[in-house]
Homo-oligomer: 233 residues x 2
């Protein structure tokens, strides 16, 4: 209903010639407005909406094109393949995710590493819960090709390094029992990822956790873990 029909007037593209000078990319977004406004953007949003109900598998290039009001071939001007479109969605998701984590930690004291770790875990879970489609696209290998993009990988590496620093700092301060740090890191990560995936994959009901109890339960689990790291005396 909302797509362009044959015969409708086509808005002419603006006449600007945005020549990127070599080695330099414009700050906000390399692609500029065309006929559509910003087709690239529209396609990413359509893809996300499709993923939101039906999961990543339900994302179709043709359907995204339809929703953006362009022909089936148009998206391939902006994305080399369906996978490339999904990767673009993943990149945006990862960016937003990072921003949210950073915000959650910003007003916490720098000298309370375990408290920061807890906040990190809780923010992670909450984000996954509120952005299930984004989360699944970032996490699930088989969602598409797999080879996650460089920018996603880097963002991820920084997050991993962060958990490492926080644990090391907690140990240095004597906040922790004598636990192998690597083991603690993997345990915490698996716990939080597991909680998020249980939510995404709809497991909580069968484990006897009602929908409006999920968040509280997840926090309880996280607390149990954080406390288990502490000294026992």
């Amino acid at each position: 209903m909302c797509s362009r029909r044959k015969g409708d007037p086509i808005p002419t593209p603006s006449k600007v010639k945005p020549r990127k000078s070599a080695g330099q990319r414009s700050r906000s977004r390399p692609e500029v407005a065309y006929h559509h406004g910003d087709l690239r953007r529209a396609l990413i949003e359509a893809a996300l909406a499709l993923a939101a109900d039906g999961g990543p598998a339900a994302v179709s290039v043709r359907e995204a094109a339809r929703r953006a009001g362009v022909s089936p071939a148009a998206p391939f001007r902006h994305f080399a393949s369906r996978d490339a479109l999904l990767i673009a969605v993943a990149e945006e998701a990862q960016r937003r995710f990072r921003a949210e984590i950073d915000a959650a930690l910003s007003d916490l004291p720098a000298d309370a590493p375990l408290q920061r770790l807890r906040a990190l875990a809780v923010a992670y879970f909450r984000w996954a819960m509120r952005n299930p489609a984004h989360f699944e696209i970032i996490s699930t290998r088989s969602a598409f090709d797999h080879q996650t993009s460089v920018s996603v990988a880097q963002d991820n590496a920084e997050l991993i390094a962060m958990t490492e620093r926080l644990l090391a700092e907690a140990a240095r301060r004597g906040d922790m029992a004598e636990i192998d740090l690597k083991a603690a890191q993997i345990t915490g990560r698996a716990l939080v990822y597991g909680l998020a995936r249980m939510q995404i994959d709809g497991h909580f009901p069968r484990w006897g956790v009602a929908a409006d109890d999920v968040e509280r339960t997840a926090e309880q689990a996280i607390d149990l873990f954080i406390r288990s790291l502490g000294r026992r005396d």
Copy 2:
């Protein structure tokens, strides 16, 4: 190459008429052999092979039919839809999984609940690691429709009840610190599911765990959790 070609002789079906008497299903498997031998079986196996590389999304009814040497329409005599085929694969996976878990617990003392819980967790992880396609089909909601079958749900419920019993028994025996049992159950489950999914989704490399270290690391994490349940005195 291996599919039947037009003109090849078609083996005639055996002349038995397997009339199921009402309300009673034959023990081993309701479907009997036809022309193909057992097309249902062949399709399930082909589907599994397809899922093994490429994930559940890569399962195609037509390709499964091709591999079984039948026409594209033939599978729909045995499965109402692609989803129904995937559900059949999931049911078989769940059966095998249950058998493996039961075997892992069979030679363990009945009066050591935390030891049994540990063995359950380790067996769960190992099975996921060695049967990634099966595991993903059982676990991932968006793999197909979602509505997992009744038999899968029941098998699952029994496993959940088992973890509950083991924890309650450990508490009764005084093996545990004062911890909310529900919280402990969810924490343990999320940890083990998270470990399994990290493996399936290929996360371990970026968390600095090499392939041949994954199993040992997972067991370390499980031990850390089991120990955190214990009394602190």
